[in-house]
Subunit: 135 residues, 2 copies
DNA sequence: CTAAAGCCTCCCCTGTAGGGGAGAGTCAAG
DNA sequence: CTTGACTCTCCCCTACAGGGGAGGCTTTAG
């Protein structure tokens, strides 16, 4: 019935190190320990593992995932919390995307400008005229 | 003529720690050292500093900036290298932006789905039905 | 001369999600 | 009984750009 860490890792398609790490940070604790101290997991551990991965895949961090799980284990329905988290993360992503788009556009325009500049007229003092320090 | 590190940092509007760090990694070396070991910088150090910041601002990492500066100090015109770097960074950004947009879209659709789900029908085994581990 | 301010090197710390490996105990098969 | 596979804890390492602070010189102003 109970799996040891190696079997869980293999069934989950991950590494023993990762499972131990998940135990340590509290997202996936073993059901119990054997007398000799081995971690023993029930079959539900596999579902937990999949949940953790799915949550990671939508951009949640392990610390946040731990909070969700703690709510659930505390008897609460974490859905409201999760929806909040997802909303905030989406907003953060919007902001981040805007930054990256602006940066990319600047790089593209730098690129176009660079093609019109003559490398021989590059002032050594300024390292490279493609990138302008505003001096 | 020569500035010490504190004056340079102040004129550049940055911290002494940062200037020391730039020395350590080779992007901004002092012109010389005083007898007592103090870093002494020429006025051109300010231009160098501004270049480094400008390059950082367009997404180049200090390691890459160091390479650009090494080329320049080796007597070469780094423009070609810089153009390459910029092109590659722009392509990386495109890829990264696409990832983030996909992630954000998934979050948004998760968000919409969550609003239609009933929290009371959330299976505790799966932690939260908003995020589906595919079990 | 003395005190304050500035400077030096060296070392540890941050966040993220683990990876690598040492040294030691445990379990199953031959 | 032994060997090999498995497991345990503990500690250091990664990227990135510095920040914080200790302990000890040096310089400058009063």
């Amino acid at each position: 019935m109970a799996m040891r860490i190696g079997e869980l890792a293999e069934r989950a398609g991950t590494s023993v190190k990762t499972i131990r790490y998940y135990d340590r940070i509290g997202v996936l604790r073993p059901a119990e320990r054997s007398e000799s101290g081995y971690r023993l997991y029930g079959v539900d551990a596999l579902d937990r593992y999949r949940f953790v991965r799915a949550a990671q895949a939508v951009g949640l961090r392990l610390g946040e995932i731990r909070e969700i799980i703690a709510l659930r284990d505390g008897g609460e329905t974490p859905c409201g919390f999760v929806v909040d988290l997802i909303g905030r993360r989406a907003a953060e992503l919007d902001a981040r995307i805007a930054e990256l788009v602006a940066l990319r556009d600047e790089l593209r325009s730098l690129d176009r400008r660079a093609r019109r500049l003559d490398p021989r007229r590059c002032d050594p003092r300024l390292v490279c005229h493609v990138i302008d320090g505003g001096a």
